[in-house]
Symmetry: C2
Subunit: 479 residues, 2 copies
């Protein structure tokens, strides 16, 4: 595994390294004229756009932020950018974990954060039509009044937007039962780089007319088009209280095998979260709790909907068979406490340093051996890799805590070995965070040259000038 | 609505109209040399490939059928076809309803029907890896031994292949609860027109590395690549017996409103099938049953999995509220009789003439008005349009029974008006059958010029010579 074009530690955006040019000034002036009141060049705002939650930061600030309110604003921005050959980075809440919304020198930031209206909620068709800038959490609060919800449930739901969730094909805690974002989007309206509007998908559950461009756009990280409206497939809220189950195990191996056994038994659990010993140790230290006395790994399971209680009994039996110290509850307060333990993981790790959160996914039968591989990598590279895991779908977040200014070479070496393991067992570099800047160096290893060529070809069909989020997903082609 | 390039009644494949050329002979000879024992030119076999179940038939037989057994056979066929510029029509069981697998003069048929092996069943990862030629029904019988199933459930499941289901993104009876084929495919290995192999997707539930080419290939009707291996997402078989509910209504309007009310109430039913009066009349005549005395429309509902009995009670209440004469059963024998009534629809209509089965889908709230529109079209065009409907997902099969040699102009006029209605209410030309030859004239009306251009651009990226299933989905470009 050897990233061919640029090393992980040295990622740059597609932005030119030199200072503002004459063209840059003309672009900003054209934007101001065409979009009065929408163009922001306040240095603080520009600087905020050079980073997301991946830990990456562009060297220079972007030219301007266009705060779009209407589809026409997006079109106008694209027309001006196309005319001048200026790159556009679409951005909403900036909560991404892969550098996908990081903007640098010479680039326009197109913010869709203010396009946050709910245009329609149709219980009859179980769909909602929304602007891309609405927060996932805000949407779901509005939907709850109708007994409905939009299933994508990234941990960031209260701070991340629907448009961002779609651009990344976000995952979250509930995917094993409720699917990823792709399954919950019926239609997308996008603006192409040249300003033309394209409506993909349907208001119907089924539809097979031509290629599925809606599915193709989901997860395309702002590189093919700018999402300006989304028609979302809604589900009825699960009835009755869920049953929440917490279990401590003597080893992560036992916990991982218990999780795999639940999947293999065909139990349709809503949520299954695993924490390993280094993670528990961090939580214990942060919360001043003696968690390690109770076990060396923790599994949290939730069963919802019809038959939840019966299912929970079966799950508890499997957990006990694997040596789990199990507690099950349908009391709301106690369930919240059990969930809080898992939610404490990220803050506890953040308290120790800057985090590099990895995002590999592996077939669910390979969970235990993947945890074993992580322990071997810790020993081999002299690092600690606390790991949480969406065990219901085999998506792990091995996390490196960095206390130095630069990310040490041994961390990158361990991360590379981790990616190699994921690919070797039939997994992927990224289950839900995306490629962005962070993983583009390794993407060719996963896709292979033929598929990479097809993907670049598709990019060129949608965006022949290469203006939409350049340098994201694919490293810049060198002449 | 005016099909711009060719009329519906006059569709031809991409094949040249002239007789076999010198090149054709050289291609067949090259195939024979490279693939001994795999190349069939028996006139009966060739003639069988000129049709599918759409009613379309190519004017001239294809050059040869290559019966591929291995991926290498497919690659070799593609290399030879590319070298000679000869089109390839991929075909398996030939059960398509849109002319997608119809092959004509000057074309090679690449049959994947013999690539029918189950390579792996993994209960631990809830997946199976199969060759494209396996029948859906055969696969599901093998999976049942493991307590698993592959959810796509087209009515043709006993005679259609998994590869064909994927190439068309097949729907079926269970989509409202279990999703379409796209949601049940994890990974695809395809051979490109030039013989290169590309592996798309993952063995994992989640994966967001680059564009989702696996989703793009699903439903691409053999125009982008040839599926040679599929990794399928499996579900555990629902526990316990389902509850099956049959209800007669005084009018299709009542039945359609009852179906919409079940959706709007958020009930997650497995199956909901509606038959209108002309369909019931055909079944009554065919089976010599006095069905019309019981009602003028019929709704069949099935509830499965945990909580099925409770859900069934709620459904029965909704049906009675809408004037339904309702029977519910969990007796296997009686349930089979209720299902048999729905299954009798197609044979009963086939007994009356050649069928042109349409496949529009509309938002579920628009069902009642769509049936009203169909009744108006019957009056306006002097035709009868018996219609069955997957009411759980708004997918209707308005059916024209043709007794003449040619399809009458009034049938095409009514079909065009039907398509216009579907698009006007936010629906689609085709919910599950695909575009193929049959609907390509109307596709531009649904997609619009911008999206059509993107779709043609994608086609050119995958297949620059235009050799894979030319003339399907898109009408041939005229110079």
């Amino acid at each position: 595994m050897s990233p061919s074009t640029d090393a992980g530690a040295d990622v740059s955006t597609g932005a030119p390294a030199s200072g503002p040019s004459e063209t840059d000034g003309r672009v900003v002036e054209a934007l101001r004229r065409a979009l009065p009141g929408r163009v922001v060049t306040d240095p603080e705002v520009l600087t905020a756009c050079t980073a997301d939650r991946s830990g990456h930061r562009a060297d220079a600030p972007p030219l301007a932020v266009v705060e779009a309110r209407e589809v026409a604003d997006v079109q106008e921005t694209c027309r001006i950018a196309s005319a001048h050959g200026t790159p556009i980075v679409t951005r909403a809440a900036g909560t991404g974990l892969a550098g996908g919304a990081v903007a640098g020198g010479g680039e326009i930031v197109l913010s869709t954060r203010s396009m946050d209206r709910i245009l329609e909620i149709s219980p009859a068709d179980r769909l909602a039509v929304v602007g891309p800038g609405i927060l996932n959490g805000d949407l779901n609060r509005a939907l709850a009044e109708h007994g409905l919800w939009w299933a994508p449930d990234p941990a960031s739901r209260d701070i991340s937007t629907v448009g961002g969730n779609i651009a990344m094909n976000a995952g979250g805690l509930l995917c094993a039962k409720y699917g990823v974002t792709r399954e919950a989007v019926l239609a997308l309206t996008v603006v192409l780089a040249d300003g033309r509007v394209v409506e993909t998908g349907h208001r119907t559950v089924k539809g097979v007319s031509g290629y599925d461009l809606c599915a193709l756009l989901i997860g395309s990280e702002g590189t093919l088009g700018i999402i300006v409206e989304a028609t979302l497939r809604l589900d009825p809220l699960p009835e009755g209280p869920p049953t929440t189950i917490g279990a401590f195990f003597d080893s992560v191996d036992d916990a991982a095998r218990a999780a795999a056994a639940i999947t293999a038994a065909g139990h349709r659990i809503a949520l299954m979260e695993l924490m390993d010993e280094p993670t528990l140790a961090a939580v214990a230290e942060h919360a001043d709790q003696d968690l390690l006395r109770r076990g060396r790994a923790h599994l949290l399971v939730q069963c919802d909907g019809p038959g939840a209680a019966t299912l929970a009994e079966a799950v508890v039996a499997v957990l006990r068979d694997h040596g789990g110290d199990v507690e099950a509850t349908d009391d709301e307060q106690r369930a919240a406490e059990l969930l809080a333990l898992r939610r404490a993981a990220l803050p506890a790790l953040e308290a120790q340093g800057t985090l590099l959160v990895e995002d590999i996914a592996v077939p669910r039968s390979r969970l235990a051996e993947t945890f074993a591989a992580i322990r071997e990598l810790e020993a081999a590279h002299g690092v600690t890799i606390p790991t949480t895991c969406h065990a219901g779908d085999g998506n792990l977040h091995p996390t490196f805590v960095v206390t130095s200014e630069e990310i040490p070479a041994r961390v990158w070496a361990a991360a590379e070995a981790l990616f190699a393991h994921a690919l070797a067992v039939g997994g992927t570099l990224t289950g839900e965070h995306g490629i962005g800047l962070l993983k583009r160096a390794w993407l060719p290893d996963e896709l292979g040259p033929e598929q990479l060529q097809l993907q670049r070809g598709i990019k060129a069909v949608f965006d022949p000038q290469g203006l939409l989020n350049p340098g994201k997903i694919f490293a810049q082609e060198t002449a």
